[in-house]
């Protein structure tokens, strides 16, 4: 009996510690932006909106958020459109070695756009004249996400019965109509998953924009965050909390929107 109680108590202590681990940053994010004297710890704030004003007056804070939106939207569009088309073709056309190809792409993609390939990517973009170009950066980010996106989407496409398409074809639908009327709508939950996944990935990507965008006016929020210092060179705690809060909003909104409309189906590799 006491053993049981002790075990229960132990369980709750562990849970509390784990919970606190995740809750503290959240609480900080909720309180620090509105605190007149924000610190790195959490405390009951002296309510004020002056931090918000300071942040809005920062020369690059809002621009960087807009930059982030542009960059991520472009990368998401590139990834989703190309992945949907590629996944559909790979799911329907028999190519010898198709699965090997997919796995190889998946494996290489994590190497190719990661730290290991930093230098070659930089040199490549330099020679293409795409340094400091937001579109160029979006292409690199999108390209890096493409294999994983194709992999997940192909699974969705595989689960769309062929008879849907055949039925449409018998009624005279042209390939474009088959895609637009039948395949894409049926695969929509999968595509929604990819949109969110790609956007969130790109939104949090620091390395590539840091590497490829030298101009502060073009850098996205993830990169700017690192440079938010006050005159003394230490972290500017009047700007960072508000900025962090603004930075997290789009992702949360996107999640809520998509999850409301489609529910979530994150299970690459597993059929529902």
């Amino acid at each position: 009996m006491t053993g049981f109680v002790l075990r229960r108590i132990g369980f709750y202590v562990v849970i509390t510690v784990v919970l606190a681990f995740f809750a503290v940053p959240m609480l900080w994010l909720a309180s620090a932006p509105f605190d007149a004297r924000p610190g790195l710890g959490i405390r009951w704030p002296d309510w004020t909106l002056s931090n918000v004003r300071t942040t809005f007056e920062h020369p690059f804070a809002l621009t960087s958020l807009v930059n982030s939106l542009i960059l991520c939207a472009a990368a998401t569009v590139v990834t989703t459109v190309l992945a949907a088309l590629a996944a559909y073709s790979l799911s329907r056309v028999r190519i010898p070695g198709r699965d090997v190809l997919l796995y190889l792409l998946l494996l290489l993609s994590s190497v190719v756009t990661g730290t290991a390939a930093m230098v070659p990517i930089f040199v490549l973009m330099l020679q293409l004249g795409l340094i400091n170009s937001q579109l160029g950066t979006a292409l690199v980010i999108g390209g890096g996400m493409l294999p994983a996106a194709i992999f997940i989407l192909k699974d969705f496409m595989d689960s769309v019965p062929r008879s849907y398409e055949e039925s449409a074809r018998v009624f005279g639908a042209r390939p474009r109509q088959v895609l637009g009327h039948v395949v894409l709508p049926v695969a929509r939950p999968g595509i929604a998953t990819i949109v969110v996944w790609a956007f969130v990935n790109a939104w949090g990507n620091f390395l590539l924009p840091f590497l490829l965008l030298r101009d502060v006016g073009k850098q996205p929020a993830a990169v700017l965050l690192r440079t938010l210092n006050d005159e003394g060179g230490s972290a500017n705690l009047h700007v960072i909390p508000v900025f962090s809060l603004l930075y997290s909003i789009p992702v949360v909104l996107l999640y809520l929107m998509v999850s409301k409309r489609y529910g979530f189906r994150f299970h690459g590799g597993i059929k529902s």
Binding site: E166, R169, V170, F171, G172
Partner: protein, 344 residues
């Protein structure tokens, strides 16, 4: 409206399976035609070849006056109902039914109009705004049929249209399908492996095996005079009695009895349907009852006459196990199959 003319068609899958093998078939305008055969004999493949979903590797497919062998499915003026119905899950019933019109860019009003007209004809009124997932099996089947009819095609192809329905619904749908086909006078080919369905519905039947047609004829012809032992085995709700026998001087000897028979002497197989044997005091075949199986209003009685012989008897004549019984075949219903398995 159009006839279908298939000449020397072979369909070979990329893996080398010859699913349809040098097949000739003519389906008349307005006919309700059944393709019947065991699983894997190539029925679906033949249907898909007519629809253009598979490319014939040899031969020609004609629909009406047109050679459609090289045409894509959409240009063949065929409509098809798939075995899983293939209703689009993201569209409502109305949108599904009107889909063939949407492909042709008909106006929204015309689409709604067609959906309403079809739903009236196929008792789907009131379901138009549902999605396929919210329909019963029978309703899904009728929706698929409505969509096919809305396509206003010359030829209707049905792949096992009734197989997903339960026994009761299947009977209803059968009657329904036959009436609809009569009213539209649409050339219809339907695939089934349920021979009762084929016998009940079709104007003519083709019995297929291994990519070839074994017999082609009216349900009556195929039931009464199966052209070979494969068809004899396959057709009929109770298996045909196939008894080893010998023809000698104008008589055939089998199961311990003799019947007059013409033809060259030699080994034969005697085929008699259990339905064509009846109990008679002076019957030529006699044996002891070993099994009695109840079929509803009739019973299938197995007689031991050296070899087992099945007899269908009406319920009021049902014998007990162990009884001695004499039976004789209905005149003209004894079939002789030669050593090649063909009807002689």
């Amino acid at each position: 409206m159009a006839a279908i003319d298939i000449a020397g068609v072979s369909t070979v899958y990329p893996n080398g399976v010859r699913a349809v093998d040098d097949l000739d078939l003519a389906v008349a305008d307005g006919e309700l035609f059944a393709l019947l055969g065991p699983s894997g004999c190539g029925k679906t493949t033949l249907l898909r070849t007519i629809a253009g979903l598979e490319q014939a590797s040899a031969g020609t497919v004609g629909i009406g006056a047109l050679d459609v062998t090289r045409l894509p499915p959409g240009d063949r003026r065929v409509a098809m109902v798939f075995q899983d119905y293939a209703l689009f899950p993201h569209m409502t019933v109305a949108e599904n039914i009107a889909y063939p019109l949407r492909v042709r860019r008909a106006s929204k009003a015309a689409q709604r109009d067609a959906a309403e007209r079809m739903s009236g004809d196929l008792s789907l009124t009131g379901l138009l705004d549902r999605r396929p997932g919210q329909l019963s099996g029978g309703q899904q089947q009728r929706t698929a049929l409505a969509r096919a009819v809305a396509a206003d095609a010359d030829v209707l192809l049905l792949d096992e249209p009734l197989s997903n329905l339960d026994a009761r619904l299947r009977l209803e749908a059968r009657t329904f399908l036959k009436r609809l086909q009569r009213e539209l006078a649409l050339t219809t080919v339907f695939v089934t492996h349920d021979q009762a369905e084929a016998l009940a519905l079709a104007d003519r039947i083709a019995v297929m095996d291994a990519g070839r047609i074994r017999q082609l004829g009216t349900p009556r012809e195929v039931f009464q005079r199966p052209a070979d032992m494969f068809v004899a085995n396959f057709i009929g709700s109770t298996p045909m009695n196939l008894l080893p026998g010998t023809v000698v001087d104008g008589q055939v000897e089998f199961a311990g009895t003799r019947l007059p028979a013409s033809g060259v002497p030699g080994e034969v197989t005697v085929g008699i349907r259990p339905e064509y044997l009846r109990i008679a005091p002076d019957g030529v075949l006699s044996g002891r009852v070993s099994i009695v199986e109840n079929l509803g209003v009739t019973s299938l009685v197995t007689l031991d006459c050296g070899v087992p012989v099945g007899v269908v008897v009406p319920e009021h004549e049902e014998p007990a196990v162990g009884d001695e019984l004499r039976v004789s075949p209905a005149p003209g219903r004894v079939l002789l199959y030669g050593e090649d398995g063909r009807l002689r």
